[in-house]
């Protein structure tokens, strides 16, 4: 059974839905109830474009049990063109090609398996443009 915790995040993980503040236009991802920039609380739903650049990264060599067998894998912080920043795995790339500043885009991928039943959990990963 899909867990409520997972289900709640589907709009963000599958469709990159964010909240754009109607007062100051700041985009929050994930959406928030209070705008961190201006404190107002009315938003419209927007979809992130998914293209951006890598601000920093690392190669995870030792992971939690949940990611056992998946190491090593790359993760980084990406700044999207809309100004949103997020943490994501970096897929389909030789580690030595990963540099700060490279252009990336977000794609839909499997991220992990949930619980003993191994339910597939999806989301975004970055790939080189």
């Amino acid at each position: 059974m899909i867990s409520p915790k997972y289900h709640r995040e589907i709009p963000q993980r599958y469709r990159l839905e964010a909240g754009k503040c109607k007062a100051c236009s700041n985009i929050s991802f994930p959406p928030r109830l209070v705008c961190p920039e201006c404190g107002k609380n009315e938003f419209e739903t927007v979809r992130l474009n998914g293209e951006g650049k890598l601000l920093t990264y690392t190669i995870i060599r030792v992971a939690s049990d949940k990611f056992f067998g998946k190491t090593p894998f790359a993760v980084g912080i990406v700044e999207l063109k809309d100004g949103v920043k997020l943490t994501t795995q970096i897929a389909d790339v030789d580690f030595d090609k990963i540099k700060i500043g490279i252009k990336v885009k977000l794609v839909f991928r499997k991220i992990q398996d949930e619980g003993k039943s191994g339910l597939h959990c999806y989301g975004y990963k970055a790939v080189l443009v």
Binding site: E9, P30, L55, T56, Y57, T58, V62, S64, T87, I100
Partner: protein, 382 residues
């Protein structure tokens, strides 16, 4: 508010204490502190613990520890601010005494990390579960991303980070309570196993069990027990976004900058007046960044500082004379209190081979997560 003093300290050995439970560890530290202070009672207690629920399956820690310490029915509360839990417990105790509500309060911290829990997963709960950890990020991974950004922006080198580990192991070798009492060489750090590039095993603080406790009291009460008054001169706390990626800068920890500013103001001092400091070196890069953000040098000088000996015991600003989290160990909730204990030992001239000359004012910086919480306490020998 009235002035508050620290009059007693107690801690356990830090390390893998397989024969001892979380209760045994805390009671040992608290009993030592009460005895060391010479008080016949305490009015209340606060205990910092990051995740007793995940590590040993025990919540309601305040009550169970008061029970096993033989202190019921005094009020006893567990305080949680991730790795800054100990520092936050100290502040809670400080305010209870400063407000006049109580005269003598125990501030403690404890963590039992070697009972079989998935430590990497438990520690990761201090980050954003859905938007950082979901992607597989670990704490070494978060600090590794700070390290890569710092190296890119300021030219910090791998060798400079290694020098921090070498310095802290050298200090910890002279600390009888330290988990690792063995010096390490630059080569050993540089060749240790990669955990999250560029951080290696010897850049990371270890998994530890341990407890620490101190006794705080009003200045009037302190004078009845001791002539060596250690005054709490400043205390401050600040927060930042839980996710590293939400911050405007990846190389400055704003919670540290803000808490430091407030603590200096309360204490009426500047960074130049601080004779030595215990800082939260959960990873080597953290010590470099915190050294800068506490205002001890310009941004970007945190790397060269250790390499040039500026943060050594005989340097301009000795950092982590106890061995820091790296060598002394990091039983998460106990760390903030153990930092206060090092300040106390230095300020009372009891630090032995680790003793800093002319130690009058010391600062303890304790932080949680990737810097989403920061607690700073400044102590002074009167």
């Amino acid at each position: 508010m009235r002035d508050v003093a620290v009059i007693g300290i107690g801690m356990t050995q830090f390390g893998e204490l397989w024969g001892k439970s979380i209760k045994d560890i805390f009671v040992e530290a608290a009993t030592k502190a009460i005895k060391n202070a010479g008080v016949d009672h305490i009015d209340s207690m606060y205990v910092g613990s990051m995740s007793s629920g995940l590590f040993v399956g025990q919540e309601h820690l305040g009550a169970i520890l008061a029970d096993y310490l033989g202190q019921t029915p005094i009020p006893s509360t567990r305080v949680e601010s991730a790795c800054a839990s100990g520092g936050a417990a100290f502040r809670a105790a400080y305010f209870e005494v400063a407000s006049g509500a109580s005269d003598i309060v125990l501030a403690g911290g404890v963590e039992k990390m070697t009972d079989g829990a998935d430590v990497t997963e438990a520690l990761a709960t201090a980050a954003d579960q859905e938007y950082e950890v979901y992607q597989g990020v670990t704490f070494p991974g978060l600090y590794a991303m700070i390290a890569n950004a710092h190296m890119n922006q300021y030219g910090t080198t791998r060798e400079q980070l290694a020098a921090i580990s070498v310095k802290n192991h050298r200090n910890g070798a002279n600390n009888p309570n330290a988990q690792f009492r063995s010096p390490v060489t630059l080569e050993q750090v540089m060749n240790s196993t990669l955990v999250a590039d560029p951080l290696r095993l010897l850049d990371c603080s270890p998994v530890s069990d341990g407890g620490a406790a101190v006794i705080l009291c009003s200045m009037d009460v302190a004078k009845k027990f001791t002539d060596t008054i250690i005054k709490v001169k400043g205390t401050a706390q600040a927060s930042d976004t839980i996710a590293l990626h939400s911050r405007k800068s990846l190389t400055t920890l704003n919670s540290v900058v803000t808490a430091a500013h407030k603590a200096y103001k309360m204490a009426g001092v500047t960074p130049k007046d601080i004779n030595f400091a215990e800082v939260h070196d959960c990873f080597t890069i953290a010590e470099a960044v915190v050294y800068e953000d506490l205002g001890f040098c310009e941004k970007g000088c945190g790397g060269p500082a250790a390499e040039e000996g500026r943060t050594a015991i005989d340097g301009k600003t000795p950092l982590n004379t106890s061995g820091g989290l790296k060598s002394k160990g990091h039983p998460v909730g106990a760390t903030g209190i153990a930092q206060i204990i090092e300040l106390y030992e230095q300020l009372t001239g009891q630090a032995g081979k680790r003793q800093v000359k002319n130690a009058h004012i010391g600062l303890a910086q304790n932080m949680g997560g990737s810097g989403a919480s920061c607690v700073i306490n400044i102590l002074e020998a009167k």
